[in-house]
Amino acid sequence: MKLLYTDVLIIGGGLAGLRTAIGVKRRGLDPLILSLVPPKRSHSVAAQGGMQASLGNCAKSEGDNEDIHFADTVRGSDWGCDQLVARMFTHMAPKAVRELAAWGVPWSRVRAGVHEAVIHGERVRIQALEGAQGLITARDFGGTKKWRTCYTADGTGHAMLYTLGDRAVAESIPVHDRREALALIHEGERCQGAIVRNLMTGELSAYLARATVIATGGYGHLYAVSTNAIINEGLGQAIALETGVAQLGNLEAVQFHPTAIVPAGILVTEGCRGDGGVLRDVDGYRFMPDYEPEKAELASRDVVSRRMVEHMRKGKGVKGRFGEHLWLDITVLGRAHIEKHLREVKEICQYFLGIDPAVDYIPVRPTQHYSMGGIRTDYRGESPTLRGLFACGEAACWDLHGFNRLGGNSVAETVVSGMLVSEYVADFCTSPEGDIQLSSALAREFLQREQAKLSRLLAATGEENPVALRQQMEHIMMERVGLFRNGAELQTAVDELRILLQRAENLGLRSRQPAANPELVLAYRLPKMLKIALGVALGALARTESRGAHFREDYPERNDRDWLKRTLYRWPESGEPQLDYEPLDVKQMELPPGFRGYGTKNIVEHPDTKARQAEVAQAQQRAPDRFALQEQLMPFRHLLPERYRKPNERLHEPLP
């Protein structure tokens, strides 16, 4: 049996995990990264479109600042997010982009002079800002008032991940890849590391750490078709849940992206629409302006996705071999633009569809894309119930995104949360609480437990086939816990998932190989995935309203009165899964609930909303400048690590 000690164990080598590790290392502690795959192969690499940060460098982002980014984010979340976190985030995003710029990300830059762009399907000419030449430029993304999404052609995630991956090597951060965290080691309410399986040799080890950070990404592949990498199976959330102590937040908040190709489910970036591409129906008609006169294709993702399905339900979908779809038309952008800025899109079309997007329309349909829910943490990234357990990136419900994430806010979140959480983790480790005696006896106990589970599985001769069970789960999630939801379907989903969970106790394996063995891997992951899937279904069933990406046909209104609260999912060690709720306090909100400006306006108001709106309006009149106003409405700076408190410089807001 192997025991390893480190200061901070970071589970996940995507953007969030890497940036956290770098931050921890720079604070003089020893981090260690675990990952299922080499870090640079993490799902983050697939992000194409870009990263939001209010730099305000390009003509169409003139005047942008944290306040506007904040408001966009809160509206995007359908007021489901934690506004304090959104504030910290929008303040940090420019710093994150600039740090990455210095470390090597080749962000696309502003060109001087006049250049052409496509807006609403039409060519327009744009004059660059004075003095902006060579600064980081931005493109348009859904749900934003300004062009704010920084990008490197359409390989943003790749460029960011490689830069951070290389940085981690530069700082000699150890990475143990092809390792899977199977369980968290914890004593009561204190987390002490994880039990880890080597996916190559099958060997189990205990990694003991003063603090553990989960940065394992989302749970998209609970669905049969998802834009996510196939390793995004909700494993990090599951091991947190299985402690019985940690809580998961808002699992039902699952985003569907409007444009994944049919049938493979591979994403074509929102940048396609941001750069001027449009959606068309079976008649070649551009239908989005009819539904969303103002933002058209660039309303938030939940809205565009629903409008698309709505339109298909009117019989306007294109009937194909793999079901119905619509068309994404980027031919208007011209070949030169596509080959330079949307090359990954071109390659995807070429290899997976055999078409040329410069002349052909792309068949698309809304597809599972992002997990807003995850391990519930406070603004410091720590689980409020399991001390020493932190989470960040898509794995967490830090709650930046509420019920809908804006495009470009996720890779930004990964890096920003990595920057912040690493500081809080380091603070924690150097505090008396972080200074604990790690228990090897405890580690042994957990290790034996996990070993016993695996041995049982390797000898299992039950009649259930793990592949079949998994397919059923994926099918249930697709059919009953999808874009449009209703009580009856969700109830069926919950019942069926519970049955699957029981059946998963009676697996039979055909292979007895203890080392690299995909069948064994699936077998032990299956119950974990089912528990998360059940959490999604239970949360969705209980939430009798529609908010952001969660849409109930039987409760189409957003009900602030009863549902302005966060779902908390917990599975005590002996017993049944539980749902609890954590209210969002309207009286503390900098931006009180209102209409998003796109989508359907159908809101049951919270009793405190009016009063808070009035307060805010009053403050707006009195405040001398935006900083003072902000400070008065919802102070947040004191919560930031000291090194990150300074304001951000902009062309129009120079620092002294």
Binding site: P38, K40, R98, A101, G155, E344, V467
Partner: protein, 242 residues
Amino acid sequence: MNRTLRFQIFRHHPLDPQSQPRLETYRLEESPGMTLFIALNLIRAEQAPDLNFDFVCRAGVCGSCAMLINGRPGLACRTLTASLPETITLLPLPNFELIADLSVNTGKWMRALSERLETWVHLNEEPDIDRLEAPMDADLAEQIYELDRCIECGCCLAACGTAQMRKDFVGAVGIHKIARFRADPRDCRDDAAYYEVIGDEDGVFGCMSLLGCQDFCPKNLSLQTQIAFIRRKLARQGWKKT
């Protein structure tokens, strides 16, 4: 009529003392739009539950799934079976440590490469991130991105005759990475420093210009041009040095 494909797949589990390297045959009905990703998963689901292979993004961007497809390296996830004959032989990439079956440890190799070539921007000083970022010419940024597109899939090594003979050869991927950092003004290293890491027979001077790399790089990177460029620069550097 759909074809019935005949897959000959390399099977071996180095950690299992009983295992012998062998080719096993599986038959599969082809379906429209079938990729090797789909095919291998079907084979695993229905015929060989313990068959090891690596896919992550299944969209041709993460570099996990490179293998020898009928002898030639390529990304399995974006290879349509329709582009292949009825008999499809799949072998793991050579050059890399075999984990099992089609799965090889490219990650370990690439990390070692990164440490050896120091493939990161060597900073003069930490940036002040509260201030405006340092400007960069838009064309230069694009050029660096172009050089940054390598996905570390290992196809270039598998396609390289030199790399088959010399286990320590950095391959096109290594030389190309140096070209990427050399083009980047933020990296403060000079040619003498680059010479230190690839100015030898296991580096750029080991390349014999067989151009397998150029022809099989799934990202179509301009490896030929970049290798020649780095060779010229470092040859000059080596010539000057006394």
